[in-house]
């Protein structure tokens, strides 16, 4: 009885609370008032350029994001929970490449694959295999591959190199984790799933994935727009010469910019002055290690895990991309 009342009180509070629909509308109205007050002062060219780029990167990612979220929600609703554990080979050495290949089939961007990997470990998939899936899925899935082909017209070898280098890096990390990884480290710190009818699961998963990934996408778009507006082309171009400097520069840029893997090919295409191998490094590192992913992984698996996993992955991604880039591009 008491809990019922508590629930009623809380629900009433929720309707007026800081995260409620009312608060959401209030923020929009407040922004509208501020916006009208500032109108005329906002047309500084630099600010306008930032706003245009910010909206452009966000809007172009929406169809990709919705597709990824829809497929991920359909899987959550319709693929039986033990399915992945059942079809994976028992032996970790074989399960790792198998998981990498599973990543090829499943579309989704990196934000979606972190919770999926957590769910897989929860269901008895060996940690190295789940982590390999986590790394491979956002980098090599069909949506990302098609986006890469579109972003580099006439250079389909870029998409091929991206798939190959990402698979190599993901499998290398999986095997390294099998050999040296701490089995207790990769345990989801908190985990539960949506319950109810299939439609409820579908909708709840879609909402979670869209809002989560979308929020991080906004961070990436804002940062990318800022970099493109604030950093003069000449500075970036001055780092584009030589061999090691552009590779190091774009590897760091991939971590800092944190562009969604479904959109990063277009960013890489815009870095026209850079050598192809450096741009490949950007495409291989980005979906595997970036600031938003490190935050997501620390949230899902714990900070100790993220501290070990991120540097290992970064090294594997950079080396694999350099090797494949030198060979294919």
């Amino acid at each position: 009885m008491a809990t019922d009342q508590a629930a009623i009180v809380r629900r009433a509070a929720e309707r007026r609370g800081a995260g409620s629909p009312l608060a959401l509308v209030a923020v929009v109205v407040a922004a509208a008032i501020v916006g009208v007050a500032l109108r005329g002062r906002l047309d500084r060219p630099a600010l306008q350029t930032w706003a245009t780029l910010f909206v452009a990167v966000t809007v172009q990612a929406v169809p990709f994001l919705v597709l990824g979220v829809a497929v991920s929600a359909l899987i959550a609703a319709f693929v039986p929970s033990a399915f992945f554990a059942r079809i994976l080979p028992r032996h970790p050495a074989l399960a790792v490449p198998a998981a990498a290949c599973a990543g090829v089939i499943l579309p989704g961007c990196e934000c979606g694959s972190v919770p999926i990997a957590g769910r897989l470990i929860d269901r008895g998939v060996p940690a190295p295999a789940a982590l390999t899936f986590l790394l491979a899925a956002p980098a090599v899935n069909p949506v990302v591959t098609v986006a890469t082909v579109i972003a580099f017209p006439g250079r389909p070898e870029m998409a091929v190199a991206r798939v190959v280098a990402s698979l190599i890096a993901a499998i290398a990390v999986g095997w390294a984790w099998t050999r040296w990884g701490d089995a207790d480290l990769a345990i989801p710190t908190n985990h539960h799933e949506h319950r109810g009818s299939r439609l409820d699961v579908l909708l709840a998963t879609a909402r979670h994935d869209f809002l989560h990934a979308g929020g991080f996408l906004v961070v990436g778009a804002a940062a990318a727009a800022f970099l493109q507006t604030a950093v003069p082309r000449s500075v970036l171009d001055s780092l584009a010469g030589g061999w090691l400097v552009p590779i190091a520069c774009l590897a760091v840029l991939a971590v800092v910019m944190a562009v969604c893997s479904e959109a990063d090919a277009f960013v890489a295409a815009s870095l026209a002055g850079f050598p192809m191998t450096a741009r490949l490094v950007f495409l291989v590192v980005g979906p595997m290690v970036d600031v938003k992913l490190i935050a997501l992984q620390a949230g899902t698996f714990g900070r100790r895990f993220a501290l070990r996993f991120a540097p290992l992955t970064f090294a594997a991604a950079v080396m694999s991309a350099i090797a494949v880039g030198t060979w294919l591009l």
């Binding site: 629930a7 809380r10 609370g17 995260g19 409620s20 629909p21 608060a23 959401l24 929009v28 509208a32 060219p45 306008q48 350029t49 706003a51 245009t52 780029l53 909206v55 452009a56 990167v57 966000t58 809007v59 172009q60 929406v62 169809p63 919705v66 597709l67 829809a70 986006a147 579109i150 972003a151 017209p153 710190t189 908190n190 985990h191 539960h192 949506h194 319950r195 109810g196 439609l199 409820d200 709840a204 879609a206 909402r207 979670h208 869209f210 809002l211 989560h212 979308g214 929020g215 991080f216 961070v219 990318a224 727009a225 950093v231 082309r233 277009f266 295409a269 815009s270 026209a272 949230g299």
Partner: protein, 243 residues
């Protein structure tokens, strides 16, 4: 910021889906992304609206709610932060593009960004353009113009009048230039093509004014420029970017 409640998350999906759909239906998406992305934006927007409305309607029936209540009882802050029940804190940021789109409705990329972007073509790509028939007026994209200039200093259009449409941008050699962007997918990958204008009588038009200019090529020491024979100020085209 408190995490969004489930209803607020669903409402946000409806609002975002609505604005994306409107953007594509009015054609305003062409300011930011490739025109061909329009139908995909409509599909994505409608899906978001439908999912959001269903979530709002079905909310009382979901088992999630009870689950959520149990967890929230004693303030599992870290738990909420990760947003397992659909509305993580980071979702607040989705309001940013919504607000910018509705309030600012940013203009297409203009003259300010020309200096900051890669130029087309970086160098002559080795294409040799065939000679255009002498004495004719030829309308071409600024990209093609720039490529022809890069090819043997514009030898292929020596005896023709060219017609270009673009916006006014700072010139490298000459009073100003006409510029236009090419995009592969969105404005984030825009590459600028520039046609420098020479010998302009009268006041230089202000930056970002759209002009249709007819002129002839004038070889110069610093590179070929366009000597205008006539020009008209035009409305910004609905398709501001070239393919």
């Amino acid at each position: 910021m408190a995490p969004l409640t489930q209803d607020a998350g669903a409402l946000l999906m409806v609002m975002l889906g609505g604005i994306v759909t409107r953007l594509a239906i009015t054609g305003a998406h062409r300011r930011y992304v490739k025109a061909g992305l329009g139908p995909y934006l409509v599909v994505a927007g409608v899906l978001l609206v439908v999912a959001g409305v269903l979530l709002l309607l079905r909310r009382p029936a979901t088992a999630d709610d009870n689950d959520d209540d149990d967890d929230d009882d004693h303030g599992h802050a870290a738990h909420d932060d990760d947003g397992h029940e659909g509305s993580p804190r980071v979702a607040w940021l989705l309001l940013a593009p919504l607000v910018v789109l509705v309030l600012v409705a940013p203009a297409p990329l203009g003259s300010f960004a020309v200096a900051n972007r890669t130029r087309q073509p970086a160098a002559s790509a080795g294409t040799a353009f065939p000679l255009l028939p002498a004495g004719t007026t030829v309308e071409m994209s600024i990209r093609e113009y720039a490529e022809r200039v890069a090819d043997r200093d514009g030898a292929s259009m020596r005896d023709v009048t060219v017609r270009l449409v673009g916006f006014v941008a700072p010139g490298r050699h000459g009073p100003f230039a006409l510029a236009r962007y090419q995009i592969a997918c969105c404005a984030g990958d825009a590459v600028a093509s520039v046609a420098d204008v020479a010998e302009w009588d009268g006041p230089v038009p202000s930056s970002d004014t759209w002009l249709a200019v007819e002129g002839v090529l004038e070889p110069g020491r610093a590179g070929a420029t366009l000597r205008p024979t006539s020009f008209t100020v035009i409305e910004p085209p609905s398709d501001p970017y070239e393919e």
